[in-house]
């Protein structure tokens, strides 16, 4: 398992170093030195907790008690979550709905906004971009809190507006049928501008000649969009889709500061369920097992992402 040991063994035909080492080797050393701090840090701060988390996921442990009281339970935490637990899989599904709906919203609206901003004569690009970027830069806790106030069925400003337009008041976050939609609206709001900027950069990267050639051939706006713009943007769209899904599956701040999972568990997302399992229900092992199931899903998505990146480069 030691990569260094292996390397030394297969390099016998290099000049014997003696006290002096070759330039190539010295460079190799420098390269190694450059990444050493990060690597060590990574091992301690990321991989360590990961191993610890995995170890704990095979135990039953209340985080209030000392760790010596952790009891070995093998794979039973995983088994329980995937079979008996009535709240974990629904929470995973909620996160899935949220992630997918947000991706669709972000890609469709984001792309539309990017197309608008890409209109040649549109002035004030800087202004539009700053405005669009703001929600993504704002603390999700503040946003969630703000939106919870706006969505409130009584003193929420949204119902004031819809009431003014003649619609009945909606209990956005107090009705299980609409609460997840409200959370999806918040999430889409938070990121749509950001993705619009991503798409805009993608659009700006499409060579002008393509469009010129197409318009000479008599293609109309829609045809240009379908046959030229969209194929050119496919890698960016694919990338955004995967990134947004990965982050969407981990939604937490936004939910805990607005609906806290309710009503009737309609907005209970997987990370929220994880948080509550560890700290409220006092079952750190089970929470860690949840984290690893989620981790496996995210890893699979990342592999897809890496594939896409590779395709993009070639």
């Amino acid at each position: 398992m030691n990569p260094l040991a292996g390397r030394e063994a297969v390099a016998p035909n290099q000049p014997r170093p003696g006290r002096r080492i070759s330039i190539a080797q010295r460079r190799e050393r420098w390269g190694f030195l450059f990444v050493l701090p990060v690597t060590l840090f990574l091992l301690i701060v990321i991989l360590g907790p990961l191993l610890f988390g995995f170890w704990i996921s095979l135990h039953s442990w209340n985080p209030l008690a000392s760790l010596t009281e952790a009891k070995w339970v093998g794979w039973r935490n995983y088994e329980f979550l995937l079979t008996l637990d009535k709240r974990f899989l629904p929470s995973l599904i909620n996160s899935g709905y949220y992630a997918v709906a947000r991706v669709i919203g972000n890609v469709v609206i984001g792309l539309a906004l990017a197309m608008l901003m890409n209109y040649p004569k549109l002035k004030g690009l800087r202004f539009w971009r700053v405005a669009l970027f703001l929600p993504m830069a704002t603390s999700p806790v503040v946003l969630g809190h703000m939106w919870a106030n706006m969505f409130h069925k009584d003193f929420g400003i949204l119902n004031t507006i819809t009431g003014f337009l003649g619609f009945p008041a909606v209990g956005w976050m107090t009705n299980p049928d609409t609460a997840l939609i409200a959370v999806i609206i918040m999430g889409t709001y938070q990121f749509v501008g950001y993705y619009a900027i991503v798409f805009l950069a993608g659009l700006q990267g499409i060579p002008e000649e393509y469009a010129e050639a197409a318009s000479i051939d008599g293609a109309n706006g829609w045809q240009q969009f379908w046959y030229i713009t969209l194929p050119q943007l496919t890698p960016v769209i694919a990338f955004v889709t995967v990134m947004s899904t990965i982050s969407g599956l981990q939604v937490f701040d936004l939910v805990i500061s607005s609906t806290d999972g309710g009503p009737a568990d309609a907005t209970n997302t997987v990370v929220l369920q994880m948080y509550k399992t560890v700290f409220v229900n006092g079952r750190a092992g089970q929470g860690a097992a949840m984290a690893f199931i989620l981790f496996a899903i995210l890893m699979a998505l990342s592999v897809i992402q890496l594939r896409l990146l590779r395709e993009q480069r070639s």
Partner: protein, 453 residues
């Protein structure tokens, strides 16, 4: 210990990368030192109550609570300062964390080297806390004091496994609140007393406008809050002669016919438009709800947004031939098992919860909680001292309930169980499940929790 070493060898057979190994050790053995150390250090502590000649050694205590709001925080801070004046060698530092994050705070505290000496926490965590070994032994005199000066329900609320684990600071009972004007308008001269009457009242008190939208609900609950959903249901269940758990705590009993009857009453009201499960804490005090069931601290809303005198209170309606029941829950103060200054910490508790502010006056604890949110004390002496306050507006029924209210059966997974029951109640209220289905689903999950070791 041996498992950890084995694990290390498994991952790092050559013992290379010492840092990584150290880290693994770090990850796997957090509690080894902290638990053993204080056990030795706190032994000599009692002796520092020193003779008159030598000045007592300075003691620093810390107290962890949820009084994160600046005015509450400052409120307790004045008492802490007063304590410091009376006991110049003792300083008490306050650490406040928002309630939503309090559990995470307590859990991580225990991993640190100097966790807080004192905690002010919900007593419905008592089972969990006792099981985790955070609660230190309560001195005999304090146990005796609690047994003598508090109602049985409140004593039970801080008891787990037959032992009192701390001192209750307040009492929250659950009774029915009703809007006097609305009842009078409908021609009722007294509040409903039985469940059948509750239904009749709630239907009659519901008003719709010309378009069929409800403008006044006959009955409401505060949906979306841990205690305000479960406690009214549990109180009505008791009042209907039912039980929440089997006597030996081996399984759920709330899905009994009595429980189904209570929940069916609620869903009937939902279907008739008399109860809307989307109602939250804002509805009942804004003159849109006639009758509700809530714990007493919500009086706070009446003083802020409405007039407490406009509301009446009465015991929760009961089933035919049954007696009204209620649940009383408390917050309690206790000393951390890991505290090196247990004796000094208990001294502070004695001062805060037993010593009065003067002849015929309440304790500081009672005064403090009443001041921040009109919370009711549990101590007989405090109720007596503040009886002028607690005989006004909605208080009397709450005070009376202290005599018959039962404690929440705070087994280690209590809060999780309550969360589960709440979710299933919501499923029934929103007509996603029938009352039987909802309660049986809840019971199945809660039974699994009850059977945990």
């Amino acid at each position: 210990m041996s498992k950890r070493n084995h694990l290390m060898r498994m991952f790092f057979p050559q013992g290379k990368l010492i840092l990584v190994a150290a880290l693994l050790l770090a990850g796997c053995a957090p509690a080894a030192t902290p638990t053993s150390a204080p056990a030795n250090t706190n032994a000599p502590e009692p002796t520092q109550a020193a003779g008159p000649t030598q000045p007592p050694a300075p003691v620093k205590l810390s107290i962890s609570n949820h009084l994160v709001n600046e005015t509450w925080h400052a409120g307790l801070e004045t008492y802490l300062a007063e304590y410091n004046q009376l006991h110049p060698n003792v300083t008490v530092e306050q650490i406040s964390t928002a309630f939503a994050d309090l559990q995470a705070r307590v859990a991580t505290d225990q991993l640190g080297d100097n966790p807080p000496d004192l905690y002010q926490l919900p007593a419905w965590w008592v089972g969990n806390l006792a099981q985790s070994g955070i609660l230190s032994e309560v001195p005999a005199d304090i146990v005796a004091d609690v047994q003598k000066n508090y109602p049985q329900g409140v004593i039970d609320a801080v008891t787990w496994d037959g032992k009192i684990h701390g001192v209750p600071m307040d009492a929250n009972t659950t009774v029915m609140l009703y809007n006097k004007a609305m009842l009078a308008e409908a021609g009722y001269s007294r509040p409903p007393e039985t469940l059948a009457e509750l239904k009749e009242y709630a239907l009659k008190l519901t008003k719709k406008d010309a378009e069929g939208n409800t403008i006044q609900y006959g009955y409401s609950e505060w949906v979306g809050n841990l205690n305000s959903e479960y406690l009214p249901f549990a109180s009505l269940l008791y009042s209907n002669g039912g039980d929440i758990f089997a006597e030996d705590m081996s399984k759920s009993a709330f899905n009994s016919p009595e429980g189904v009857e209570v929940l069916t009453l609620m869903t009937d009201l939902v279907q008739a438009g008399a109860f809307n499960p989307e109602l939250t804490y804002t509805d009942w005090y804004t003159d849109r709800v006639a009758i509700t069931v809530l714990p007493n601290w919500v009086r706070f809303y009446l003083t802020t947004y409405n007039d407490p005198a406009a509301f009446g209170s009465a015991p929760v309606p009961h089933g035919n031939g049954k007696e009204s029941g209620a649940i009383v829950y408390s917050w309690f103060i206790f000393v951390n098992e890991k505290s090196p200054n247990k004796e000094a910490a208990w001294d502070f508790i004695r001062w805060f919860t037993q010593e009065t502010l003067g002849e015929g006056k309440p304790t500081r604890c009672a005064q403090f909680y009443y001041d921040i949110a009109s919370v009711m004390p549990a101590r007989f002496g405090d109720l007596e001292a503040m009886k002028d306050v607690f005989s006004t507006d909605v208080f009397p029924a709450f005070v009376e309930a202290q005599s018959y209210a039962r404690a929440p059966l705070a087994f280690p997974q209590y809060e999780e169980a309550v969360n589960i029951i709440n979710v299933e109640l919501e499923n029934a209220w929103f007509l996603k499940k029938t009352p039987e289905e909802a309660l049986n689903d809840a019971a199945e999950q809660v039974d699994a929790l009850l059977q945990m070791p």
